[in-house]
Symmetry: C2
C-alpha cells in the first residue's frame, strides 16, 4: 500500500478548487503577461506537438496566427518558418493560459489576466472573436477574420481594460455563482454572466463615455452579443483555480483537461506537468442548419478547464436552456449531472445548482473513481467543422485511456492506491 494518504491529498486538492478566488485584474497583450511568451511563439491547445504533427483546422489556425501577427507575409512563408523552427509552437497551458478550440495566441493578442487571490497565481485567456462562425480559433484565417481580430484588439479590449483598471479588479466568483442561478453553466452558456459583467462595469464605462462614447458602445455590444464573451473570463478563472490545486503530493485529482487535433489529455495534481493522453471520443452534437456529422472535426480545445473545476458539463442542471443549443433533454441533463457526483471528491462549496436544491456542483475529478465507476467526465463543447468555423455544439466524454495512464503513473510513483 502507498504511504501517501490519497484521500487527504484529494481532499486538499478539492478544497483548493473550492477556495480559489479568481479576480480579473488586468488585460493586455499576451507578450506582456504570459510567462515564457515570445514574439515568435504561437500557442495552441493541447499538449504541445512538433509543428508537423498538427493537422486540419488546428494547423490552419497556427499558420493563420503567424500571418495575423505579421510573422509571415503569406501562408507559404508561415509554413516554411514553422517547419524550420524559426517560429515556435507552444502549449497554452505551459504559459498559464488556456485556449478555446484551436486556441491560438500570438504576442500582440489581448489576454484576460485573472489572479487567484487565495493562492496568488495567475490564469489567462484570450478574447472571443465574435459571433461570426468563421474565426481563427476555429481554423479559419482570411481578411474578415483579421479585421474582426483587430476590432477586438483595438476597439473592444481597450475599453474593458480601462474599466477593469478603474474598478481596481473585478471579482469573478460572485458573478459566476450568480450566473449559475440564472441559467448559465459557464461553458456553452455564459449569457447571464456577460450581463452581470456588464452591470459590474456599467458605472465605470458611463464615466469613460465622455472620452470615447463610440468605443464604449462598441465594447458593450461585443460583450453582450451572444453566449460566449464571458466564456474566456470563465476559462481564465478556471485556469487560475485549477492551477492552485495542482502539485499536491499524492493527489489523484484532475487539474486540467484539453485536447489537440491528435489527442485528448489530462493532467493530475500529484503527477507533475505530464499529460496523460487518449483518443478523441464521439461527440453528441446538435449541428447548425446545413451541416452534417461527417463534417465534425477536432482542432483542439482547452475550455474543459471549466469542467475541471466543477462547471460546464458538471453544472448542466443549472442550464436547461442549453437544450436548444446542444440538443438533449432536461432529464438527460439532470441524469448526467447527478452521475458526475460518483467520480468527484465533493460538492463545490461555492458553485451551486438551484435545480438540485442548491447542491454544490460535483467537483474534483478523481482518476481512480473514474476507473472504478466507468463514468467519464462530460463536457459541453463547441463543435468545429472540417472546412473551419463552428458548425454546432454538443457533449463529449473524456476517454478512459487518459485515466488508465494516469492511474498507472500514480501507482508507479506512489504505490498501490
Amino acid at each position: 500500500m502507498s504511504k501517501i494518504d490519497r484521500v487527504a491529498a484529494n481532499r486538499a486538492t478539492f478544497e483548493r478548487l473550492c477556495d480559489a478566488e479568481p479576480v480579473f485584474v488586468d488585460l493586455g497583450p499576451a507578450i506582456e503577461h504570459l510567462p515564457g511568451m515570445s514574439r515568435e511563439t504561437i500557442l495552441t491547445s493541447g499538449p504541445a506537438l512538433p509543428f508537423a504533427e498538427y493537422e486540419g483546422g488546428q494547423r490552419d489556425a497556427i499558420i493563420g496566427a503567424a500571418q495575423f501577427e505579421g510573422l509571415a507575409t503569406d501562408r507559404e512563408e508561415a509554413v516554411a518558418k514553422l517547419e524550420a523552427g524559426e517560429l515556435r509552437v507552444g502549449g497554452c497551458h505551459d504559459c498559464n493560459a488556456v485556449g478555446s478550440l484551436a486556441g491560438v495566441y500570438t504576442a500582440s493578442m489581448p489576454v484576460f489576466a485573472v489572479r487567484n487571490e487565495t493562492g496568488g497565481n495567475l490564469g489567462f485567456c484570450n478574447f472571443y472573436e465574435g459571433t461570426n462562425p468563421r474565426r481563427l480559433n476555429y481554423g479559419v484565417y482570411d481578411e474578415g477574420v483579421k479585421e474582426r481580430l483587430l476590432y477586438v484588439q483595438d476597439v473592444v479590449a481597450p475599453v474593458i481594460a480601462e474599466a477593469v483598471r478603474r474598478a481596481g479588479g473585478i471579482r469573478l466568483k460572485p458573478l459566476m455563482q450568480r450566473a449559475l442561478h440564472m441559467g448559465d453553466e459557464l461553458h456553452s452558456r455564459n449569457t447571464a454572466a456577460a450581463l452581470l459583467f456588464l452591470r459590474e462595469i456599467a458605472l465605470d464605462v458611463i464615466d469613460m463615455a465622455g472620452e470615447d462614447s463610440a468605443a464604449v458602445k462598441q465594447a458593450i455590444e461585443a460583450l453582450t452579443a451572444d453566449h460566449y464573451f464571458f466564456l474566456r473570463l470563465s476559462m481564465a478563472a478556471a485556469k487560475a483555480t485549477a492551477d492552485a490545486a495542482h502539485g499536491i503530493e499524492g493527489s489523484s485529482v484532475v487539474t486540467a483537461m484539453g485536447f489537440s487535433c491528435r489527442e485528448f489529455a489530462i493532467r493530475v495534481s500529484g503527477l507533475g506537468d505530464r499529460w496523460f493522453t487518449g483518443p478523441h471520443a464521439e461527440v453528441q452534437a446538435k449541428l447548425f442548419e446545413g451541416h452534417d456529422e461527417s463534417e465534425i472535426t477536432w482542432m483542439g480545445g482547452e475550455s474543459p478547464i471549466v469542467e475541471t473545476i466543477g462547471l460546464g458539463g458538471f453544472a448542466q442542471a443549472a442550464a436547461f436552456a442549453l437544450q436548444r443549443y446542444q440538443g438533449g433533454s432536461a432529464e438527460a441533463m439532470v441524469e448526467r449531472n447527478l452521475e458526475l457526483y460518483e467520480i468527484t471528491v465533493g460538492e463545490n462549496t461555492h458553485y451551486h445548482i438551484p435545480y438540485l436544491g442548491y447542491r454544490g456542483s460535483p467537483t474534483g475529478i478523481d482518476v481512480f473513481r473514474v476507473l472504478d465507476t466507468g463514468v467519464l467526465p462530460a463536457m459541453d463543447i463547441g463543435v468545429a467543422g472540417r472546412d473551419g468555423g463552428q458548425i454546432g455544439a454538443g457533449i463529449v466524454r473524456a476517454p478512459r485511456e487518459c485515466f488508465e495512464r494516469a492511474a498507472e503513473a500514480w501507482r508507479t510513483r506512489y504505490g498501490a492506491p
Copy 2:
C-alpha cells in the same frame, strides 16, 4: 345548453393572451397617463371599496399616499378628507393599471406605459420603491419612504423615460421570453429581465451620460439593485396583455386576479367588469429572519396579473433559484407547474419553460376547469407584515369561491356551459 361556443370563445381569449405584443412606450406622471385619474384620486389594489372598509396596511398606504401627494398635511387631515369623500379612492384596474401590494398611485407618481401593439390598448404600472423593506406599497409612510419615492420620481424615472424615448419604445416580450430562459418567472424573480433591460437601454444611456452622468448611474443602480425593478414592467405588460383578451363574449377565461385587504377577486373575459370575490387563502411563505407567521397580513396586490397571462406561478419551473427566496423544492415547483396545465386553455406560444422541454407555459385559466379539477391557480407573491414592510415571499392559491361565483354568473348569462 348554452348557444355560446365556449370552447371557441376561450380559444380566442387564449390567442389574444398569446399574441399580445407589449411595448414599453412612455413613462410619466399618473395624471398624464391614466384614464380617469385625478389630482384627488388615490388608486389602490383590488375591487374598489368605500374608504372605511380598508384596514391595516392598505388603509395606512392610502393615507400615506394622500400625505405624499400633498393632499393632506398630516395623517389626521388625510383621514378626514378620505372619510368626507374630498379625496377619492379608486381601483387601479379601473384606470388600466395594476398595483403591487397595496398598490397606491397618486397623480404625480411616474408610471410605465406599455402599449399592446396587437390590440392598441395600454397597460400601466408605477415604480418599484427600492430594496428597503419599508415601502409605501407595503403600508409604510414616513420621511424615509417619502425620500425614496421622490428619489425614484426625480432621479431614476427621468433617466429611464429619456432612454425609452430615445429607443422609440422597447419591446418587452423578447426580454420576457429570454428572461424565462435565464431563471426568471417574472413575478417574484425578475433578475435577468432587469439586466436584459439594462442592455437594451445601455447604448442610449451612454449617449445621455454626457448631460448628467450621476443621474444615469443612479438609475442603473436602481434598476439592477434587486429582483423587483422589472416586475413593474412585467405587470404593465401583463395588464396590456390581459386587457386585450378581456370582453370576449362567452369566454370563461380569467383576465385579472388580485386582492384587497378584504378579499381576493377575479375578472372573467366574457363577464364584463364585475369582480368575483372570495376569501384570502393561506400563503406558503418563507419569511425573512426575525419574522414569524403570526405577522402575515393582507394589504392588497394585483401582481397576479402576471399569472393571469401564464407567468409567475405558472412558469415556476423556469425559476428554480426562487427556492431560496420563497421556500419549497424544485420537485414541488415542477409538480405545481405541471398541474396548472389542467386548468388552462393551452400552452403559451411565446413564453416557454426550458426545463419542460421548452413547453409553452400554461395559459388562460378557465373558470370551469378550475372547478372541475379542483386545482386552484398558484401565485408567487411578496408577503407583507402586520406592522408594514415586506417580511417574506411565498406561494398563494386563488380561493375556489371566486370561480364558483364566476361560473354561476356565466350560467346566468349564457346558460349551461
